[in-house]
Structure formats: C-alpha cells, structure tokens
C-alpha cells in the first residue's frame, strides 16, 4: 500500500490474512452464524424432541418438512414486537442488560478451541483468540453472568422480576462452587489451564473414566448454571411468570433467549472438552466434527431433563448443591491428590508435587 | 326400598302401613326440642338422614353449640339464605352433617327484613366463614361477630341492592 504511518499500518492489518481469518472466525464459525444456527437448530430440536416425549408432534407446518423453519418464523415475529420499557425501570441498566447478557455469554465462545486444523495465526487450533489460560477466562465469564441477571431483574422494577433476580442470584452463585471445584480436579489431572492441553491429556483415556464423580458433579452443576430443568427456578413460569426477564419483549427478549442457548452451547462444549475427550476420536471424521457431535449428544441429554423432571424448590436446590455436590467434588479432588501421591502411573500428565 | 321414602304401604296386607322408623333422627329432634322448648318452633324428621329444626334467632348460637358439642354435628355443609317477601323475612338455613351419625340437620332461623341481623355462628363452626360472607353479600343479612364481611363474589364496584333478593330483577327476566 502506498499510504504511510498509522493509516498504512491499519490498512496493512485490514488486508492481512490474520484479520481476514479473524473475521471469518467471528462471523461464521464459531461466531455469529454458528451460534445463530446452533440456537435455531437446538430450539427446533428441543421442541420436536420434547413433543415426542409428550406424545405430540411439535412444529409441523412452517418449512419444507417437520416445521424446520419454525425458529426462523419465531425470530421474525419477535423482531416485529414493540420494545416496552416499564415506566419505573432504571432505563440504562434495563436496556443494557440484554446486550450484556448476550455479549458475556458469547465471550466464552471466543476462547474455546475447536480442534486441530491448519490455521494462519492460531497456534494449532481453530480458535478466535488463543491464550494458554482459556479455561480460566471462560470460567470468569461464566461467573459474571449472574450479576447481569440480578441487574436486569432489579432494573425492571417489577415484583416478579425482583423475585426472579433473587432466585437467579441464589442458584447461580451457589452452584459456581461445585462447578469450580470439579474443574479444579480436571486441571490438576491435565496439568494446565489450557483446553488444548486438557483434551490432549485425554488421548489415552477420557477423563470421564478417570473421574466419574467429577463428571457427575460438573454435569449437574452445569445444568444448574444453565438454568435447565430441573434447575430452572429463575425462569419458573408457573410461579413468577418468567423470572428476571419478565418485562422484556421484542428483540430484548430474543437476546435473553439467545444468551440462554449460547450458554447451552458453551456448557456442552466445556463438558465435552473437559471429560469426553474433546475432538479426539477415530480419524474417519474430522476432529471438529467429533467435537460438535459429542457436544450435541450432551445437549440432547441436557434437554431431556426438561421432559422428565419437575422443578426443584429453592431450598431443595441449595440443599443438593451444598450437601451433596460440594462434598462429592471435594472427594474427587482428594482422590486425585491421593493418586498423584501414591500411584502416579495412572495419571497421564501430572505435574503435582512429589 | 329407597332410603328417601319414609312410608311404604304394604301391598299384600291391605291396611297395614309399614313405616321405617328413623330412631336416631327422631332422637336428635327430640333432644333439641327438649333442651330449648321455647326457642324451637319446629323440630322434625323429614326423612331418613334429614332433620329440620326451626329456631328463634336470638337462641340460634346456643342451639348450635348443643348440636356441635353434645349431638356430634361437626361438619358444615352449607349456609343459605332464602327470601320470603310475602312474610317480609329472610330465612337463614344452616345444613350441618354429623360424621358419626350420618345425619344432616337443617338449622333454620328467620330474621325480619326490616332488621336483617343475625348472630354469626362462626364462634361455633369455623367453616361457616365464607358461606356467611356470601349470604351477607347476596341478601344483605348482617352477621354480627363475623370477622370479615367484605366483598367476596360480587365485583368491587357493586352498588345496587343485594342481588339474591326477590325484588332484584335480572335484566333477562320476564317482567
């Protein structure tokens, strides 16, 4: 380019392979298009799957067959609705919350590596931004989510929203603890915060076999963090209309729904990467496909919970979290430490003490 | 034999009337009459399982206490008002069931339309709470001692006369 100075640098960046690849990742995969497609497919699948459990059919008419375009129709309908801000609401926080909730949930996707593939700037894997601490950053964004829910519920200035925000606070903050402790045992086993490293440590045997208790705790805690039945207390329709996002309509409502499905995506990917071997699998399917396949199976199992379980009550939920999950997670950590001390040959990649 | 018919005529023996004797019901009626001879104007067995007692309005609480504590009538089934404009009075009927004896007693009392006030029986049976509230709303009978005689079934802005009175005509009624 003939330009000089900052403009030259900027134009150099704009037309470099790095930027183009970043754009591709952010817009197509694993960014906007992927997440929209994922949300639509999962919404459609959830409705059809639950319908079959309920002995009915689900969406049928919209689309070429089996109501495939129903989520698109819903999306267009929701776009057409008026955005209503309650008169006593705190306008700034109220309007900011849906944007924040989508952004912060989506940030998790920025760090998840999607499997080894040739790439210009990333070290080995298809990831939007690589850092050796990607698991830590994903968890950080996971931990910020409850605050936005509380903020939105408070800003809505409606009784049902306030109660929903309270419930979201209790549930989401309480279940962070077993989540983090079970991840701690995985990190100890793999010896690193890097998801790439963790997946590679599972090349001989998946962590679900080495740490079944940890898997169980992480799975249940993740279902609680995602707000899926039987842990959907913050959204309990039958009691508090819709919980903390009660007052949202139109595109703000859609943002909240989208954030829920982004969380589901990130959660399933995490479960797969941490315990189910990530993208490892026989070579007749590319690794990315293995990753997505396994996390889709995890998503299906999470969705199934909605057809089978009634909702927990707050005190029963907290009871489960504190008296069952945290001790189990701690036991898992102790088991890992004990194995590291006395039988280190079992563990693939331990760099603990010794 | 249907439990509702008190008298069946014997077909083969003409002239012999076979009567089912309702011992327990008659006993209850007699017991009430014996205890309150001046307040009870009528105490009879209507059929098996049904006793009707008419009491003066100022003794109704005492009769009710007798029914509940000594005769075992503990289960309130209904409280209704009936409007008799030709006699210028309301009749309030309490139907109480006795679980042990399996008898229903209709405790009736009348209040005049000019002074429609009656002592509430909520001190005897808790369960008359909502029933008396509804009767008050629909007939305008004031139950003295009831803790909460507020709007129950009618809309909050109802300002016409109590609707179940005979002089309140519905718009769809033939005039």
């Amino acid at each position: 380019m003939a330009a000089v100075g900052f403009l030259g640098l900027f134009l150099d960046f704009l037309f470099s392979m790095y930027f183009l690849e970043l754009l591709l990742k952010v817009v197509v995969f694993p960014g906007l298009m992927f997440i929209s497609l994922f949300a639509m497919v999962v919404i459609w699948f959830e409705r059809k799957f639950l319908a079959r459990i309920h002995l009915r059919i689900g969406p049928l008419h919209v689309g070429p067959m089996m109501g495939l375009f129903q989520p698109i129709a819903d999306f267009l309908k929701v776009l057409g609705k008026e955005i209503i801000v309650p008169s006593n609401a705190h306008r700034t926080m109220y309007n900011l919350a849906p944007i924040l909730v989508v952004t912060i949930s989506g940030m998790g996707l920025a760090f998840i590596p999607f499997g080894p593939s040739p790439s210009v700037m990333s070290i080995k894997n298809w990831v939007i931004y690589y850092t050796p601490f990607n698991l830590l950053l994903i968890l950080m964004f996971f931990t910020i989510r409850p605050l936005i829910a509380i903020g939105a519920g408070w800003a809505s200035n409606s009784k049902f929203s306030t109660i929903g925000a309270l419930r979201a606070a209790f549930q989401l903050l309480a279940y962070e603890v077993p989540l983090l402790i079970s991840i701690a045992s995985v990190i100890m086993l793999a010896g690193s915060f890097d998801l790439i490293q963790i997946v590679q440590s599972q090349s001989k045997v998946w962590f679900i076999i080495l740490q079944p208790i940890g898997f169980l705790v992480f799975f249940v805690a993740m279902m609680a963090e995602l707000g899926r039945r039987p842990f959907d207390l913050p959204h309990a329709e039958q009691e508090i209309v819709f919980g903390w996002p009660t007052e949202y309509t139109g595109i703000q409502f859609m943002c909240v729904m989208l954030a829920e499905y982004i969380d589901l995506c990130v959660g399933s990917l995490l479960i797969t990467a941490l315990f189910l071997g990530g993208w490892l699998g026989p070579a007749f399917i590319p690794p990315i496909a293995w990753f997505l396949l396994k996390s889709l199976i995890v998503t299906v199992v999470i969705i199934m919970g909605r057809g089978v379980f009634p909702r927990f009550r707050m005190d029963q939920l907290l009871d489960l979290g504190w008296t069952v999950l945290i001790p189990l997670a701690l036991i898992q950590v102790l088991v890992v430490l004990a194995l590291a001390q006395f039988a280190p040959w079992i563990l693939p990649n331990v760099t603990l003490g010794g | 034999m249907d439990s509702r018919c008190p008298i069946t005529a014997g077909k083969d023996n003409e002239g012999v009337v076979e009567m089912t004797v309702n011992i327990v019901e008659d006993g209850v009626a007699e017991a009430v009459k014996a205890n309150f001879p001046d307040a009870v104007s009528e105490a009879k067995t209507q059929r098996r399982g049904r006793v009707v007692i008419t009491v003066q309005k100022d003794r109704v609480v005492d009769v009710a206490l007798l029914l509940k504590e000594r005769l075992g009538f503990d289960y309130v089934t209904s409280v209704s008002g009936v409007d008799y404009p030709n006699r210028n009075e309301f009749e309030v009927v309490y139907h109480i069931w006795s679980i042990s004896r399996k008898i229903l007693i209709a405790l009736k009392t009348t209040v005049s339309k000019d002074d429609p006030r009656l002592q509430s029986l909520i001190s005897v049976w808790d369960a008359v709470n909502y029933h008396e509230r509804e009767t008050h709303e629909m007939f305008g009978i004031d139950f003295i001692g009831h803790p909460n005689l507020t709007r129950f079934l009618l809309p909050e802005d109802w300002d016409k006369s109590p609707p179940f009175r005979k002089d309140f005509k519905l718009p769809t009624e033939p005039r």
């Binding site: 009784k159 039958q238 379980f309 | 009936v82 139907h95 519905l170």
Partner: protein
C-alpha cells in the same frame, strides 16, 4: 412485600391471591374470588326445572356429569319419584367417566404446578378417551346436559359397551405409566411430600371436602355414606391416605381413578334392561330438599326450595371448591413462594365452582 398472584399469570386460573411475601416466604394469603361469578343460583330461579339442567352444569364444566347428578337427585326427591334401574346405572357410568375426566384435568394442572410438562400432555391426551365416549353417548363432549329429572335422555348406543371396555383397558395401562412418571419420580416426591400438610382435625373443622379430606385420613364419601343411584349395588373401595400432605391427596385422586374404572366395569356388567326415563310433570310439589353427591372435587350439595310451581323458589349449590377454599390460607402460611401453585393445585380448586 405484597404480591398479587393475579389473574394475569400463567397458572393462577380465573382468580387471584393477595400474597404477603417476605423474601421468598409467604406469610399471609387472601383469595380474591368472583371473577367468574355468574349468579347461577339467581338465574336458576327464572328457569323451569328442566331448563335449569344446562344452567347448573355450567357451574363447573370439567365435572359436568356429577354437578347435574346432584341436581336431578334433588328434583326427583322433591317430586317423590324413582328413576328406572337402567337409568341409575347409566347415571353411575356417566358420573364416573366425568370423575375420571376431571381428575385427569387435575393431573395436568398439578404437573405444571410442579413444573413437569410431560404429565400435562399425557393426561389431557387420555382425557380424549372419555370425552369421545361421552360424545358417542350424548353427542357433546363437555357439557352434555344428559341427566334430566326422571332419567336420562338417550340410551346406550350400539357398540358402546365394547368401545368402553377397549378404552378402559388402554387407560389402565396408561395409569401405570402415570404412576411411574409422576408418583415414583423422586423430584415430584421431594416437591410434594410433607408439603401443605392438612391435619385431620383441621380438615373437619374447616369442612374440607373430597380427596382433600380423604388425604388427611377422614374416610367420608357420599357414595358410601348416603348411597344414591346404583352405588349401593357396586362394591368399591374408597381410597384414603393418612398423611395429609400434597402427595397423599394426589395419591387419593390417582386411586380414585382406578376405582372409577372398576365401577364403570361393574356397572356395565350389572346394568339391567328397561326404561331409561319416566314421565314427570313440569311442576314440582311444595317442599325442601338437600341432596348430596360426590363430585370429583368433593361433596356437592343442592338445597332446593320449591313453592309448588315449575321453577325453583331457591336453588343453593354448596360447591366443593368453595368449601375447600377455606383451608388454603391456612396451609399456605409459611411456605416458600415456589409452593404456592403446588398447594393451590393440590386442593383441586376450580374458580368456576367457587364463584358459580
């Protein structure tokens, strides 16, 4: 904080509660009824006795059979007539089908109250079995106005017995599925055991009716205490549980459905042939009557005063939900807000028959 758990709410039904909530705990509750008050008792005074059959039925649509049952029993007692045996058995069959349909609807409401949508869809689907049978018999699915003073309107059609047997067999298998899906579901048990306990003495004191009473250990059933129609010729049991919590009440309703299947089968076996209706005169002799029947929700009482004409002088319905309503503020005191729909649905209160 005062919350109006109000009519604009996914699960509240056609009324609202004024809840006094402290953090997540309900400290007081006041029901706000009257949204569906239609003045049925007043309207009934201006219709003839036979015109009142559809009026009275609308007091509670889900259990239309039993609501009219009580009414015709009362009118027949006033008239002093007795319906033919065949009509009595047909009335029992329709009453029990109505009871099953009402309990299935209750099952839907109870399940969404605890948050299990599957048990909303299954019973409402299986309710079609009985609504189809009723349509085959009467022509209408919900408000069939089938009983009239003097008997029933139509006889059993050809093929009714076989069709009913087929559907009963299928429904029995479905009941086993319901038991596994809901009653053996650990989460449902956690939500309903020891929740909303209604003690026996309180139940009698507040004159709660029906499965609410039988769930607290009081074995009262009008079909056994004062048998009407053909109930004295069928030997069925009355399910009772003693704990008085939500799970007990739910279990009582489940077993009542099983008993209803048994009663329908027995009635179909024992039904005699003959007339289905006797002629009655339009005017009813002077007198008063109080008739009681066991509807799905509990005991239903009709107090009819007749002045000798062809219209009732006073028709008073003592509706089951109205009577059970008194216990709701008491059992709701001190429960977390998540239990509000659970307790409300466990008493099976339908605003329609509270308001009439």
């Amino acid at each position: 904080m005062k919350v109006r758990w109000g009519p604009q709410h996914p699960v509240s039904g056609q009324w609202s509660f004024f809840l006094d909530v402290d953090a997540d705990v309900v400290v007081g509750m006041e029901p706000d009824v009257g949204y569906t008050h239609r003045g049925i008792e007043k309207v009934a005074e201006n219709r003839t006795y036979i015109q009142d059959v559809p009026i009275v039925e609308r007091a509670c649509i889900f259990d239309a059979g039993n609501f009219v049952f009580g009414y015709v029993e009362a009118v027949e007692e006033l008239m002093g007539i007795e319906v033919p045996e065949r009509a009595k058995f047909i009335r029992v069959i329709v009453g029990e089908m109505s009871r099953i349909a009402s309990h299935l609807y209750w099952l839907c409401l109870m399940s969404i109250a605890v948050g299990l949508e599957t048990m909303l869809m299954w019973p409402v689907n299986d309710r079609e079995l009985f609504l189809d049978l009723l349509e085959m018999l009467t022509g209408i699915r919900l408000t069939y106005s089938y009983f009239i003073p003097g008997g029933v309107r139509y006889d059993l059609p050809a093929g009714f017995r076989e069709e009913t047997e087929r559907r009963m067999d299928y429904f029995e298998r479905r009941l086993k599925d319901y038991y596994k899906m809901l009653y053996l579901n650990r989460t449902f048990q956690m939500r309903t055991k020891d929740v909303g306990v209604l003690k026996q003495a309180d139940a009698i004191r507040m004159s709660v009716v029906g499965p609410n009473l039988r769930g607290s250990g009081v074995k009262i059933d009008v079909r056994k205490d004062e048998p009407y129609a053909a109930y004295d010729q069928i030997d069925f049991t009355v399910p009772t549980e003693s704990e008085g919590d939500t799970y007990a009440r739910s279990l009582v309703r489940f077993h009542e459905m099983e008993q209803s299947i048994f009663i329908i089968r027995e009635a179909l076996k024992k039904i005699p042939s003959g007339q289905i209706r006797v002629n009655v005169s339009p005017s009813v002799p002077k007198g008063e009557v109080y008739s009681r029947v066991e509807s799905a929700r509990g005991e239903l009482g009709y107090y009819i005063v007749s002045d000798g004409g062809n219209k009732p002088y006073r028709l008073k319905m003592s509706a089951p939900s109205f009577r059970s309503l008194l216990s709701l503020p008491q059992i709701m005191r001190g429960v977390p807000m998540a239990d509000v729909p659970t307790l409300y649905m466990s008493l099976d209160l339908i605003p329609l028959d509270v308001d009439r």
